[in-house]
């Protein structure tokens, strides 16, 4: 369970870092539907953060339909339809921002960037 391996960084809100790590683990398929999801207490102890903060993140994950609490068993990743493409794409936001920034520094136009992206994409096509 990779949620425990997240390295909390200074300079970004802890709540958002926990939420991001959990979303990433689930949407990327690292955690499968039905897999157990750690309890608030476990996450708080492992990351050494206030359980209230973890609780808020867990509530957000439940609202998003990614995690559910099963009475008598605990938290688990929800059996859900394929995550929407937009949700998966949102995980790329940081990388895309860096890419766009770099492209603009190099004075590339958007069509030029698209062409470069397509060329890279095709390298990995079977």
């Amino acid at each position: 369970m990779n949620l425990f391996a997240i390295d909390l960084k200074a300079g970004a809100p802890i709540y958002e870092q926990v939420l991001y790590a959990a979303r990433k683990a689930i949407l990327s398929g690292e955690l499968k539907p039905g897999d157990p999801f750690p309890s608030v207490r476990e996450i708080a102890a492992h990351l050494r953060i206030n359980p209230n903060t973890v609780q808020k993140a867990l509530t957000a994950l439940k609202t998003e339909g990614l995690v559910e609490t099963v009475p008598g068993i605990g938290n688990r990743v929800r059996e859900s339809p394929e995550p929407r493409a937009a949700e998966r794409a949102a995980l790329l936001n940081g990388d895309l921002e860096a890419l766009v920034l770099r492209a603009r520094q190099l004075r590339l136009t958007l069509p030029e960037l698209e062409a470069a992206l397509r060329a890279q994409w095709s390298r990995f096509q079977d």
Binding site: A12, E16, R48, N50, L101
Partner: protein
Amino acid sequence: MSIQFEFLTKQYRKGPPALSALSLEIPAGCAFALMGQNGAGKTTAIQLLLDLLAPTGGGARIFNTPSPRLRPEHRQRIGYVSENQHLPDWMRVDEFVRFLKPMYPAWDDVLTARLLKMFDLPMRQKLGTLSRGQRMKASVLGALCYKPDVLILDEPFSGLDAVIREDLLDALVEFLSEGRRTLLLSSHDMNEVERLADTIGILEKGGLGLQGPVDELLGQAREVSFLTSASNAASPVPPPPADWWNVVARSGGVTFTAQNGADESALAAAIRQCWPDAHSFNFRAPGLTRLYVDYLRRHDAAAGSDSVGISTPSAPAV
């Protein structure tokens, strides 16, 4: 309410008031960090709350009981550790534990044994011969083992090394996991505040400045940077609003923290009002350190040697 401050005021014999009309409520189950620079009044507020000092105005309450009327049965539910905790130096660690236990009906032997092991305290050594870090551990142990409803920590981490901080953090996170415990923490240590507190309040010159839930404050705020070629980069017209903190222009780049910036397109539009050619915007939710420093620097005229001060409505540049 677990803790209340009502117009709490303290004037020492000399100097400006250490606290002037501080009002604040901390509900049960809240982990509140009192932040602020040295001399902002954090320790004074805590000492007044515990009736270790007498106020010159206003008052404070714990469990709805005014501080001067706190009785032993209240104190049995309050844990308190200060930076320079007074300990009975002549006692050994095991004697210290045996000495404390009868004073607290809720004393938990299982928890005590676990904390002694976790903190790796030398049982047969006298408290007076312990290192600073070990003394702090002994103090924290002495405050946690009776499972207080309210725990008050005054600068618990200052001057301690990373290993000891981590042990203390482990114990405090465990404490917070046990039901509706209330924590009041005064600290300079951003890392620990960020980890332990769900709510913060910044004391400034004896009064309460910025306060609120950490997630909301950080989620609403934006750490802003952008580029501009404007010749007036350092003195935009109109001047930036008061909730843009620590605006610094440095060789074509401008940075600041916007208190209310979650609507990023509105923020970009507002920035273009002041800097029409602003471009390459970068917005992100700040960490607690950035928010704290920029908030406290919001009135500064110039923040660095190669930076140019920006006038703000509250602190007009000359």
